[in-house]
Symmetry: C2
Amino acid sequence: MSSFAHLLLAAVFAPAFTLLVAATPAFADRSNGALVIEDQGSFFVGGEVLNRGPEDDVTIHQMYVQYQIPKGNGQTPVVFTHGCCLSSKTWETTPDGRMGWDEYFLRHKRPVYLTDQVNRARSGFDATKINQVLTGEIPPNEEVAPPIGHVSHQTAWGIFRFGPEFRVPHDDGQFPVEVLDDFYKQMIPDLRSYLPSPNPNWKSLSDLAAKLDGAVLVGHSQSGQDPFEAALTSAVGVKGLIAIEPVGCSAGVFPTGRTFSDDELAVLADIPILVLFGDHLETGIGGLWQTLFQDCQAFVSNVNDAGGNATMLYPPDLGIFGNSHMLMQDRNNDQIADLILDWLATNVDKKR
Amino acid sequence: MSSFAHLLLAAVFAPAFTLLVAATPAFADRSNGALVIEDQGSFFVGGEVLNRGPEDDVTIHQMYVQYQIPKGNGQTPVVFTHGCCLSSKTWETTPDGRMGWDEYFLRHKRPVYLTDQVNRARSGFDATKINQVLTGEIPPNEEVAPPIGHVSHQTAWGIFRFGPEFRVPHDDGQFPVEVLDDFYKQMIPDLRSYLPSPNPNWKSLSDLAAKLDGAVLVGHSQSGQDPFEAALTSAVGVKGLIAIEPVGCSAGVFPTGRTFSDDELAVLADIPILVLFGDHLETGIGGLWQTLFQDCQAFVSNVNDAGGNATMLYPPDLGIFGNSHMLMQDRNNDQIADLILDWLATNVDKKR
């Protein structure tokens, strides 16, 4: 879509959003030419040593982070954290082989950090309690050692709002359902029910932002509220917060209830916040997404009432329809990314 | 080390290796300047749908693959597979922040593919049997549902030959033990005991080599023999095999016995093979590494007797001392990488 067409759409459908869209004078080159990297690598944040017995230590609760820094960067880094039952693969090449947001943001001169959540994928997990049950040391007890979450194709279809019925996509659906079986390969066992409290992801994200001397934290779905909690752990390095299809904002409808105090709202009001939802909120799991959306609308208002700068980005308001829960993999993922990049340019980079 | 010094060392310590080292006229620039990428991304190979009940499907046994292709490449791609209790992090930034082999090989114009083994890290795992025990559906039975492997710091120290006693490094040890605690964050739970037979990694590696229209397969430690098994599954795309500190070669001393038939040896004799061990084989776990080394020496002889092209690369023969089991993270990891790059240039690329 040309810059002009985009501006026209924005003007027609959502005048309040025009300034935000207009902040980027022209949309960047989307071609897939050579990419010039200044630095890339991986490291861990956090982690603690668990002593299981004499001369028997393991490290648990570390967070794996993979990063790339583009040549000529000068913009605030972005830290992407995936949601339930997924890994950082979320942000990489789409199931139908298009460019993921990791590379798209990088090509727009933004340092990109991908985290595998604590207890997921390359971050490993604490297998102690599971092993105690497997060896008969303790009896099965789902309070102590719950079953490992591995969400089914059918459940994911509903939660991710790919269509009204399993394998029946929305008429205007943006998710590439023709490669659904490849998408499902991203869905892996999820051991977050074995995390201690407070969730170690929060401090690790907060520490990472401080280590980077400033970063925007992005969460998705199950981790959608994690950027807020990270900022409330310590806001030192937190320059922006983006919640993509979070499972609630202030009230935290699901999975854990949470109401922010006035002091907490004051912290959040000091940081630019973007909340983003896709389309077809009515489908899925019994109207839950509409409830979560409304909760986040109230949160955005509360933050702004507290003097903050919070924005709800709902693409249908801009005439962009059919986005799923997995906006970063939808066919128009570059269009959605551009909206976020515009928001970053206006609300975060200019404030540095 | 300069090219001249290297040639001198090679000439003094191992005349038979001179040709191999001389193949690269000068060692490449090791500075950490801008990196020009032609393409990068990730995808899955393999995987199957497991039906757990009505409308309850999950995908298992897929292999996650992450890749980068340098600008101006024309060389055979290299596929790196990590070993026990680790992930692809093995090949990335070292614990003390130096360049990993993933980037080093890329900077030497070689397409690099990193796999997370099936049942590890971003590839996920099949949690079915574990969950049956956790929910009390079946009783604990270590034959059916063994404890999840999570190797301790102390055991790893011995197996990886970092020094004669825990936290006492070898005098000439190359592993950066000053960042040992960061290294241990790479060690994650290992669910390979839940893999079916034949090991799905073998077909996935073989399929990946075919998909790439030619690749060199590299295994390490527990996966050291996997390249051989992948080639025996189908050698169509397999252009070279590299076993780094494998847990045995032909006899497969540990963990599974394995003797190659004459037909199998004939297949392997048609592919260039490099076997690489570090130093201090006498330390660790009761002389096991010496046994494994001898087994691989016999394997190399057997392949060559069958008309093949197999090389044992033992750095002490070249006057390079102190390497650990984790050669790709040792302080001289670039020096070891150069030896592999030389072998590739002479034995693989020229044969294309």
